[in-house]
Symmetry: D2
Subunit: 365 residues, 4 copies
Amino acid sequence: MFNTFGSLFRLTSFGESHGPGIGGVIDGCPAGIEVDEGFIQAELDKRKPNNAFAGAAGTTRNEADKIKILSGVYEGRTTGTPFAFFIENTNQKSQDYSKLADSYRPGHADRGYDMKYGFRDPRGGGRSSGRETIARVVGGALAQLYLKKIGIEIFAYTEAIDGIYAKDFGEISLSSCGERQFFAPNVEVVNHWQKRIEEVRKDLDTLGGVVCIEAHGVPAGLGEPVFQKLDACLSYALMGVGAVKAVEIGDGTAVAASRGSKNNDGLQYDDEGNLCYASNHAGGIEGGISNGQPIIARAYVKPIPSVAKEQKTVSKQGENIVLSIGGRHDICAIPRIVPVLKAMAAITLMDMVLLQKRMENNGIS
Amino acid sequence: MFNTFGSLFRLTSFGESHGPGIGGVIDGCPAGIEVDEGFIQAELDKRKPNNAFAGAAGTTRNEADKIKILSGVYEGRTTGTPFAFFIENTNQKSQDYSKLADSYRPGHADRGYDMKYGFRDPRGGGRSSGRETIARVVGGALAQLYLKKIGIEIFAYTEAIDGIYAKDFGEISLSSCGERQFFAPNVEVVNHWQKRIEEVRKDLDTLGGVVCIEAHGVPAGLGEPVFQKLDACLSYALMGVGAVKAVEIGDGTAVAASRGSKNNDGLQYDDEGNLCYASNHAGGIEGGISNGQPIIARAYVKPIPSVAKEQKTVSKQGENIVLSIGGRHDICAIPRIVPVLKAMAAITLMDMVLLQKRMENNGIS
Amino acid sequence: MFNTFGSLFRLTSFGESHGPGIGGVIDGCPAGIEVDEGFIQAELDKRKPNNAFAGAAGTTRNEADKIKILSGVYEGRTTGTPFAFFIENTNQKSQDYSKLADSYRPGHADRGYDMKYGFRDPRGGGRSSGRETIARVVGGALAQLYLKKIGIEIFAYTEAIDGIYAKDFGEISLSSCGERQFFAPNVEVVNHWQKRIEEVRKDLDTLGGVVCIEAHGVPAGLGEPVFQKLDACLSYALMGVGAVKAVEIGDGTAVAASRGSKNNDGLQYDDEGNLCYASNHAGGIEGGISNGQPIIARAYVKPIPSVAKEQKTVSKQGENIVLSIGGRHDICAIPRIVPVLKAMAAITLMDMVLLQKRMENNGIS
Amino acid sequence: MFNTFGSLFRLTSFGESHGPGIGGVIDGCPAGIEVDEGFIQAELDKRKPNNAFAGAAGTTRNEADKIKILSGVYEGRTTGTPFAFFIENTNQKSQDYSKLADSYRPGHADRGYDMKYGFRDPRGGGRSSGRETIARVVGGALAQLYLKKIGIEIFAYTEAIDGIYAKDFGEISLSSCGERQFFAPNVEVVNHWQKRIEEVRKDLDTLGGVVCIEAHGVPAGLGEPVFQKLDACLSYALMGVGAVKAVEIGDGTAVAASRGSKNNDGLQYDDEGNLCYASNHAGGIEGGISNGQPIIARAYVKPIPSVAKEQKTVSKQGENIVLSIGGRHDICAIPRIVPVLKAMAAITLMDMVLLQKRMENNGIS
């Protein structure tokens, strides 16, 4: 169904940006997970408008975004029954959007919605609002609590903003990328990004970037050989986050101009008898199945379409108009999109782990 | 489930490359589609080993690949009941693969399978064989027969092989790309690709490429706003074909270095009052929903991992070995992958059309 | 999944009897339904412990059971987005159950739970508590609001308690059965039932009964011919309510001793040209598909297994013990089960209506 | 979807009674099952028209009904990939049905189909034909092969025909009920049934009966506590077989007039320390979960609606007509329905076993 993600670890998301709040139900959650509410809240805080990680990129909408757990936890652990949660909306200003009601904003789904539903809720996007991703971040946080226990850790960091790549300014380091401004993988790039964002804001424009997700500790064998391939599922998860226009696994687009002999990741036992791969062009996935190397995926994020610059467009009434969008908008989907992409990767891996566990148990011994 | 694709137009695929054959069942197929078997067979023929489109790239395995319809058709039209079909395997040579049984081929899922299942069928990949895609091509052909009737046409062509882009040699033309060698979008590039493939074959290596899929005539409004976004579903469909390592929608990776003011596709009414987009950076999808422009998606295909060159790898028994793979392998997944990607896009769009039709009918009037 | 009911109108239920509360999410709810909260609350009130309909049969647990809508409604109408709701638990007394923690109560799932999960939450049943049915009643009420608009009305009444049949004391009348004590279909039987229940309570025992559900105004053509037959789905819905041990459609068990010539419901046009059935042995369903006559289904409800009388059983520790169950238990699942069964029938019919609407829209015209 | 049954062990059925044949695909089948084709064929033979078990009750349509396995088996064992199969139709006589094209046969879905689809295939029912149950019998046979290995055996026998109960003529014995005429549970009743059927045939009428299904060796703990209850799923499975109008678990309808103290199945340890139930009123299911006792379910089968006697009905064109149905029809759905009901119970239990195995593997240890 339209509001459910995952097959065994299933998140059903609900709520609108200008209704009472945003929530979700996770069915299929294994029993016994220690529910570290501090961790869940910390992931939510990273997605929050105007948070400490956003630097110059943020909106000025303030939301407390405090999670309230409604079911599925007993004495601090999941019980295996549905885990339901709710986050109240506390700062709705629907009047902000009234003047946009009749404009088809370029780069938005406004016209698509009108064609689809015959009407459109201009108040911040309704279900299609970025606030819906709150439910995903909670689901992803719960998944991460489980995955950590079995040795899988997920990292997400900003690789580039507006074509400025972090790797050109310092070494990529996963160790504290989750705590750094912009979720930068090194300190050196931060000021460059900050400066560029400020310039673009002054220019009344917006900008995009690249997010890298890595999953370490993933055992070989996750993913199904025909349709629920690990790379296909990850791709669905990441492309399903608004603003993402391309998804790569491992070397991604570059493989198309490589050769088999180079692109293959050769394996050898080293002197101590450990199995080693010579490279990781495949991003940890071969034939749709994890091979034990780190999973590496990239999401390419388009610039926020709501630009303050004047743009030509049309009104619902059929006139050519000129539009300039103010309001409390972000200049860049990064870094707020980073915890969302991390969450989607986490839910996907969680689902794959449970699928694999299920299969292991099916044989006749 | 693992062997089913689609939610309303559901293809369940079955069969192994070295069993009796490959088949599938399509449940949810609308009644009344004229089943043009010639068209279905023609799509299958394009995917066939050693076909006329493959040029120098092909394998020497010969298969008749003749479709036999088992159910769901009456007097030449679908009845709305499950459409089942079967294609016999006629040319199995499992002995070819025997010497690979104990080697983990680089770039393949061999080790993943061993980790996953505890064993692996070396006979051409079993379910994970390219032959499984026969079922997808049939499903896609049936979907195309429906989509054509409602004005949606899908094109798939090879954009580049080994970094040689067709657009550098002539204009891109959709009109007969489906009938040209390599599914080339112009005549001029064909010899360049042919030559490069021959060189690489002599070099005992393999090569990759880029496939572009376009869907014209797609109405605005397809796709769901939260999880079953059109771009997410397309991405799942294309990344789920073996060898694909990146998927782009519209400008894809390039959006990450663009600006909002440039990346937005402005709309205006022209002098005759027709709604026109100034560009199609979005590839026809905004906010996960089609906007009425052509859908444009790209799949980046890795070089075939089975190279004749010597490669270092390990055996199942834990030794370092050197491997050189002969057998009846393709040098390049392109062009045989082209009809498969086209089919996957067709099934996805078909599903989205049916989802949209369902929704339209749900309101209280 | 385990906590979801329905395919197109999907209720996902969450919450435990001794947690914060009970809630649910309905995905697939059509847009535009006028959400009459008074009606939903009235249905909930009929299911409430110690309500006006229960007469002598009830428990003394008091719960406000006030619904709070969390999403999916705008200006009093459903929007087509997920409809989420929550009902707080206000009167938990888990100490009541402590002494039962180590006993396997006869007629309960206590031992099954221990075998299944390795542990068991003795506090009123957790998810398996009757309180979970709150979510079903809300889902059913929303479904009824839609069904009424398209002319389908659902009635549920108590046909018999402890073998005392209402029809033996007066005519069956649907008109105000929903407002009468015990949901009795006539006034005459009420005192007989009241008296019998009091006797049995004094005897420290419990008793069962029969509930009849009728749906009027159901158009011909609902239900699918192979697996999602209307009668199979209704059966799943009703048998899935705790305490139900048999489900009948139409004449039910009696058909097994009837003859074809008698059991068939003949059709004829009357003098005014209206199509009339001579009988309704089939209960409105033939070949799994509604035929336009009233749908008639019966659920046979077992006596509450928690009896105050002494019973032999075993403890978790492996001893033979004698148990007498006090606490705030009902004497009879009827009448509180009546609105639950009505709700399950409503959700099932709603699902079937949406399935049928979907199909109607799928053909090529 | 409409043509799929089961959630983890999923049967997708295809084919029409007058097309090339009937088949199915089972996805989710565990690897390693020894595929005893003889057993599968024997189950099919019991369902066959005009078989040795039918006695006087059968049709004269002859079909070979030989199974052909299309995929999923390697060296005699299931591989875990989809198990597909096909059974050719060899004896179609669609002319038999031509004269019924415009009549709405009483007791059939004819009018429902017309209302649903706008047309109806008179040739023996198309998908709704009894021949579709072939796919179920194969699925059930495969499930039984697995269930037997884990100690679960399923029995199905005829309890009564036309009100004549087997238990009134001799003891009920499961041991060879599957090999006896009419699947009778004792020898004594066979002649009584045979005689009654002959009388009713002469009277140009048809008759019904009761089928009992027992599953022995089912471990405690199968079934889910909220929606996928074992009794609800069994009920869906059995009521979904054409002609079944009531389903009972354990004492079934009788519980409604029993008392808690009597209806509860008390447990005690006997002198050797074995856990014993004093009775099995619950039919092995309490709270939707198996309790370790034999599962007992009953299906009440209506008389075949195609009677040779004259019946009043209407034509599609709106006239009152008189109809008498000849053709190759059974007089009684029993005994041919018995292997079908057995198969449906087997698939349901198989699904529940796999669900339970999945769950066991989900916890964090």
